[in-house]
Amino acid sequence: MSESVIILMIGVSTFLGALGLIGLLWAVKSGQFDDESKFIDATRYDNEEDLRDAVMMDEKKRARKEKKEREYSPPD
């Protein structure tokens, strides 16, 4: 077994692990672990209806944005 094989093995596996770590750090930063009970409780009610709800909220946001843009008049 040569040195380069060992280097490659350690390097690749550490790199893959680091990718996972970066993913986790990003999740912490974006607030996905702020609510620990949500992991267990919210998934119990996860269904199609909730998906529709989320879409509805998105549409609401978009509708408001469009309305704002229509109302917007550039300062003269």
Binding site: I10, T14, G17, L25, K29, D41, R44, M57, K60, K61
Partner: protein, 803 residues
Amino acid sequence: MNQVPCTHCNLEFPKNVMIIEQDNDKELFFCCKGCEGVYHLLNDQGLNSFYDKLGENKLQPASINSDDLEKFDLEGFEKKYITTTDDGLSQVNLIIEGIHCSACVWLNEKVLHQTDGVIETSINYTNNKAKVIWDKDEIKLSGIIEIIRSIGYNAYPYDPRLQEDRAIKTRKNYYSRILVAVFGAMNIMWLAVAHYAGYFGGMEQSFKNIISVAQFVLATPVLFYSGWIFFRGAYYGYKNNIVNMDTLVASGAMSAYIYSIYAMITQRGEVYFDSVVMIITFVLVGKYLEVLSKKSAVDTLDTLMGSTPTEVTIVKDGIKSIVSTENIIIDDIIELKSGEKVVIDGEVIWGEGSFDESSLSGESEPIYKKSSDTILSGSICLDSIIHYKATKDASNSMLNSIVNLLEESITKKPKIEQLANSISGYFSTTILVIAILTFAGWYFGFGSFEEALIVAISVIVIACPCALGLATPMATLVGIGISAKRGILFKEASFLETMAKSDILAIDKTGTLTEGKPSVVGVEIFEGFDHSLLYALVDTSNHPISKGIKEYIISNYDDISTMELENIKSIEAKGLSASYQDKNILAGNAQLLQSSGIEVDSNSDNSLLFLAIDNKLVASFELKDTLRDGAKEAIRDIKALGIRVVMLTGDHKQSADSIAKEVGIDEVYSKMLPQDKSNKIDQFHTEGHIVVMAGDGINDAIALSRADIAIAMGGGADIAIEVSDIVLLDEKPKSIYESYILSRRTYQAVKENLAFSLLYNMVAVPLAVMGFVNPLIAALSMSLSSLVVVGNSIRIKQIKFKG
């Protein structure tokens, strides 16, 4: 009578008192109008799948109240709680009351989502706090709160900038640091396995170098990113001239790291990157657990502030107007309605009524105030309309200063951090001194700087991790485990050590030494007494005396029949009157009966309640706040340990003295306001004492947070529990004694453990000083001392308690 559950809230009630409805072939039962309303509302909106999700969980019955909605749209309120997002939307943080299970969270989220104008909502499943973003052109905040109320919950805003933002930031910070540490530790472990296998089995230097470099790469971020907290702690310790646990962890890890880099580059000796990472990871996880317990304190403080009014009604030239509390100036006349909380201190100029001052004095009995009496913010006006003159502005008033003090003490707990781990401090100082002496000896003895440095560092490396990593935590872990089994919750391990060293116990009276509610101790019954009549009367009042009488009747009579009383009147600070089938009933204190011409003997130390029917005395009851079980014995035993016991109470001198005499406390301070109590604690500190404070109410909270160790009763006010270090679940004064015994025993075990570690180190360290250190000796001394430390700590379990 058979009980049926309410279709909405699931609470069980007798069938005949329920509202029964026929829905197709199903029968629906409701306990109240509120529940019925919510059920139909949910049904109409197609949200009845809520009840499947709710399952067997029970809710609070829905109540209907909507009279104070307009206050949410006032300007002062808006300025305080509502923020505007970048794209012009309004945002508010709400605390939602009445949430019992995850189905409730689901329902609230769902209903808010369906509301027009609400752009975004997220409700936290853990602490029931919600963030709502909405378009203020479409809906007002009062509209949102009305919707939450319409489905049977209540909501009020809070200001997250006070505490929450900071707490979440700390938690996220720790999460990230731990993730990096654990990642590094796990990867270094499998590299270390190869490394050790190579040490014992023989490995070519070139492979060894590869593994060393890989370990170095992994250890570096762990030491400098995850371990940053310890470097910071060590720096603050250095500035204050204290050698603390952080100094040790930082210097141990750092020196092992430097030594390992040296070994890696010169290819001589062994690398210790794995121990660097292990120390950091374990101690960091322990620290994080402590951060978690502090987090919830923040939630309660928000509740306290959120229920405080932001506007008051002022009367000027006969015109009433609503003014934001910040704009109140001294000498403004303020009107107070019944049920309102006082936010500004002042002096009564018109009207009289009872005030609940329990959050200030701890006494549950209402206090009667008339013209020219002072009223303090934080108290609640119970029964009448009062005009009073402001004597202070909002920021200087009692309530505000209490909240400010609490906020301060939650974010920084100066005393404890200084006291903890002082033994470890001595130990580490000794090791550091030995290391320096070794360096000097080798340098001057053999003249080689390089050799001297390696040997000196190896002294620190071999001494540090094993002894300090385990000696203290292991003993305190066992100590905390035993106390938890006995209903004594220590929130942090280091409190055991501080408690063991304390020499003063300051104790609150009401609720801590006593039950905090009066109970009947003497009864005299004359002709014509009817217990059902008295029961019906006292049932209409919330006064603690009434409650005490009610409890007495329930436990002494079986056949209580329901009676419909008429003309029930509550006479301020005196008693109750009512009529029943042309009979005149009067229940109250001696003054009340004397005023209607009945002669009674009012000579007693205790509270008295007389019952008269048609101006004839039929019964008298003597009530007293009784001592908690075993209070006397507990105080005696605590005193026997050589601890000075002091009573601090908001009650008046007479009753404080009589209780103190009964339990055997010689030093009593009575009529103390919350600040007085905390000043007293500070005074003890300046005298050089280590103070333990036991209390239960909001009025004790500041003093509790000032004390070195705070003990709260499990049934006390939330805020008191949150600022405390020890919580007594069984509320027995005896548990205070037990926590003393336990902490002393644990502290002793810590000392023994450190002595043992020292002994082992006395074998290992000289070897290191002489330059014979190799991994074999290190591993041997580490595991041997660890075994002894674990074994000795388990011995704490044999502790015996009196009685």
